[in-house]
Point group: C3
Chain length 332, copies 3
């Protein structure tokens, strides 16, 4: 069974959200449209909709990440779900229970969704292949593989500023090789029909077969940024870089750091994105990160809406009489 | 004041649940019947009943156990209670506060229930003897002494499959000596009137006075399993075994591990239970654990219903006009 | 902008609660009166009011404190808010994110309130100066600076027992120099018009300029306690004492420990307060701590009501049509 198949139910609706790869433009657009309907919930006096009341959403974090856990926890709570946080790194795996036995147990407790974060590529997919039929899995980041909700919040942010994708030139800058975010962004931009996708970075940080993904590989930052509508910066993840892929942070910033000078090569109304947390002065200059073209904090806000949308879509299936995807309204 | 007395209020209703020992068959049957009424809650679209809304349930864990904490947390949330998790092992006991002072403080915050897990026998009982009149204590496992909710979920699972207890032969296999689960199971089976209770294990792992509990001690697994209706396997808890009680895991499995051959000695429709997490290949073979006669995952599901039942019973007293035990109904 | 200014909104209502210093007697009295209206919530069968439903309250703890976190978490949950616990000490600050970037992110997630605990004086103030306009900050204790909710729960407890402050003589005993609690108590008592405030302790533990705060400095415990209406004991915080400020715990107890003999110098109906956790036999004798004049556990109960009051006041502004401060009523 391919990843694509496993993500959809027999009616073609999203059941798991493991990777952007292989999904249809329609599904991605549905996510963005649903997120749009959730985007105002965070601004209401009562930031809650009753869509998932009585559902149990489990954050299953094999890799600790307060930030990601927080956004999923808030999304779940604003949908009125009950949230269970399990930090597997620090929990009873010391008792030698296998991952599958742990999953079987959580299933038997009638958990409805696992949000999985793992430092090994394929972990969320592995779990999705083994869970019971009533359970949905959302990938909160697996190794170097995928981070699909991050990519979708980036797409949501771009669409809000730039409208349709088919006229857009987008650059992704940094450590493409190790980045699950970049992989998911490339798939999302490609499926949504972006006019041109460029990846920018040193040779050592770009996969050799990158051009086969339909992207343009550029090693010079200024040339790469020329005339783009959106700059997607990546975090320099030192912890993920094994060995000497680049000489020094200082030299890296000289060549691939985004500052006002290099950003000047992009379109005047280009927007700057970053998945956070930012390394100020390493991959991005503070004047750009905090400047008028930065939409970095909007991304965080949009991340809640996109995660609410995905959660509502995967758990909102099968209630035919309530409509395919139930749309939110302020709770009374 | 005996344990029995402390567990009941002046009208004979369950106030604390510290041990199965000394409770009446009627009380145990009430727990099973109440759990039956909760068993479908986990399968509803909205897995919540409003019985304990506005109550504060505190998981007071002196011994860390993600698994047990999770089941109590889910049970409490599905009853709509607020849950406070306090991991005493990692908390401010470093400031030198005594356990009694900590209890007094939590009482003063108007907590309604403590779920206590402790590696010392008698800890939950100690706490129950010292709490304020409005507070109930549930024992989530204390040292080698008792694990009463585990035993009751086992009884619930057996009753669902086998009906009444008075015709049943039940075997408990493994490290009886150190097992709080076995102690509670023996009491529960005895009070509920099981026809025959056998404990099976090496001499070093069975208390010398075991036969005074009304159980049959058998050292040969095959003989012990002969013609039983239910096999209750125990986890081999290496962490609880101090010194050389048994030669090696391999030899233990040879003698007391449950596999399809040894299970063949039980009745053809015998069921196999295990409190989890299982040590595959140590005390139980995977073909049995995952086989048709295993009800291990049902136990996990039933554990939520049984814990909901106990919580509802101990906190649902005293609202005379609402009925002795309020039964659940789907929340509107 | 002074601390006073930053705490109030443009209509003079409490927006942040960082320190008692500089607030008006009216504001402090409003807190006490509002807390009075919450004091019965903890005794209701349903300990919840719907005032802050849909609000997100974040416990942002840079210094771990299960006890303080618990009281704020309970206060928030009883106001029906969603609670997010972030233990910064153990979280992703390892990724090198700055505190300001972390705040910006939590703001972008539409958190409504930060309860801040930090071992550095001024931390809550720093955060309040940098948060977005819609966010309120409550100081849960910052270094040696302030612990305003603790001081207000002390005032609430004193007022309940003694009525108005203008006739009261109050003694604060212990390590005044390092105590954020003492600083906040002195400001609160002074603003509320206490007749006389005495600080009692060895020279090494009293600030040199103490008398400029309008307090009487006394080094002899018996003389200091003479005829007082309330004794506010401080915890001897060994961890906050750098160097040899006092000879030994034993000698300290001889000179400044509160026992029945020394307490006899206070008025016969004097009450004894302590912020907890108490060091039995170090700064207070068990017969006093557990005696008839001790109100230490009432303080804990009152702490929930006072924290609910502050939370409701700072987040309840700006809903002009709902009244300045919405008062609680049992939720249906």
């Amino acid at each position: 069974m391919s990843v694509r198949d496993i993500q959809l139910d027999d009616k073609g609706r999203l059941r798991h959200f493991l990777t952007v790869e292989g999904l249809s433009r329609q599904i991605l657009t549905d996510i963005l449209d649903t997120a749009e309907s959730f985007a105002t919930v965070g601004e209401q006096a009562v930031k809650k909709v009753p869509l998932l009341r009585g559902k149990t959403i489990t954050n299953l974090f094999f890799e600790s990440s307060t930030r990601t856990r927080t956004t999923f926890e808030l999304a779940a709570k604003r949908l009125s779900a009950d949230v269970l946080n399990i930090n597997v790194a620090t929990s009873s795996t010391s008792k030698g229970e296998s991952m599958l036995d742990m999953l079987r147990n959580l299933e038997a407790m009638h958990c409805d969704m696992f949000v999985v974060r793992h430092n090994r590529s394929g972990a969320a997919h592995f779990i999705a292949r083994h869970v019971a039929p009533h359970i949905s899995v959302i990938n909160g980041g697996d190794g170097c593989h995928a981070h699909p909700t991050q990519a979708m919040l980036d797409m949501f942010t771009i669409r809000r500023h730039k409208g349709e994708f088919n006229k857009l030139k987008v650059a992704i800058v940094g450590d493409i090789l190790h980045s699950r975010v970049a992989r998911s962004q490339i798939h999302a931009l490609s499926i949504l029909g972006a006019h041109e996708i460029r990846v920018i970075g040193p040779k050592t940080l770009i996969p050799r077969d990158a051009s086969t993904f339909g992207v343009h590989v550029v090693h010079d930052l200024r040339a790469g940024l020329s005339d783009v509508d959106a700059v997607l910066m990546l975090r320099l993840q030192r912890e993920r870089m094994e060995g000497a892929f680049l000489p020094s942070e200082h030299e890296y910033f000289q060549l691939y750091g985004l500052n006002e000078d290099t950003l000047a090569h992009a379109k005047p109304d280009a927007i700057v994105l970053h998945p956070g947390p930012i390394n100020r002065g390493v991959e991005i200059d503070s004047r750009v990160a905090d400047g008028a073209r930065s939409v970095i904090l909007e991304q965080v806000t949009n991340g809640i809406a996109v995660r609410m949308a995905v959660m509502a879509m995967v758990l909102g299936r099968g209630n035919a009489d309530e409509g395919e995807v139930r749309r939110p309204g302020a709770e009374r």
